[in-house]
Subunit: 157 residues, 2 copies
Amino acid sequence: MPSRIDYFDDPQAPPNSMVPSVNVIVSDEKGRILLIRRTDNGNWAVPGGAIDLGESMTQAAVRETFEETGIHCEITGLAGVYTDPKHLIHYTSNDEVRQEFSLVLTARPTGGEPRTSSESSEVCWVEAQGVEGLPMDRSMRMRLEHYLAGGSHPYLG
Amino acid sequence: MPSRIDYFDDPQAPPNSMVPSVNVIVSDEKGRILLIRRTDNGNWAVPGGAIDLGESMTQAAVRETFEETGIHCEITGLAGVYTDPKHLIHYTSNDEVRQEFSLVLTARPTGGEPRTSSESSEVCWVEAQGVEGLPMDRSMRMRLEHYLAGGSHPYLG
């Protein structure tokens, strides 16, 4: 039973919150990307989540990555900022309709072993060419495509 | 009577909110920077403010710059992301203690004429070397110093 539904350009769902969040693209020395399968909607994604009060963006990125994957990482840069008001996330448990606000950071692994969690039913290192075949929300696929296209400046959207 | 007080590393003020905000460094063809004098605390700053529900980061940046300065601008890049949990902003009107969460964008002017507003008692184009002498909050000065140092990657803090 999904508790998270992503909408794009759906006029029936006005946002009622905006929560600063991070996504973390951890890539290893072979160029593989650390992906999880989300337990809330079955889609594949990079690890991430909301930034808690009392922590910085990079602290949140490192914490969420470890919680969801078992991998420790070090932040290496910023791939993009995604703030499109047309991308809304409906949390069915409390009818929160959250407007996307996500900083996508890049990172390299520094230790740990992949393991699942309550938020991730699978955790895998995936080759770049394998990303395309995985079920993924539109916004997550776009973030990974921007990253894999390898621009020299962060995406600002 | 100031309604905004900035704190740094003050253990007596735990945050109770985090609001995604933008700051905009608008620079003209002579390298001068568009600065305002804030009406809420008398300090100098670049224009900016909270991102509203229903608008993107860049839409907020363009809107806030026009509201506070009379200048229309076009976003050209990202100078940095500032999310230090030690920087807290106390709004005395409702006792909100907001943890800093600011995206600092760069921009170029595309039209308009400088004019003041309810949030800005002065609006000026200031040469880079003139920035140092102006009264400014620690965090704003740091943002401008990072920008003027001219790194090729955004600051991530």
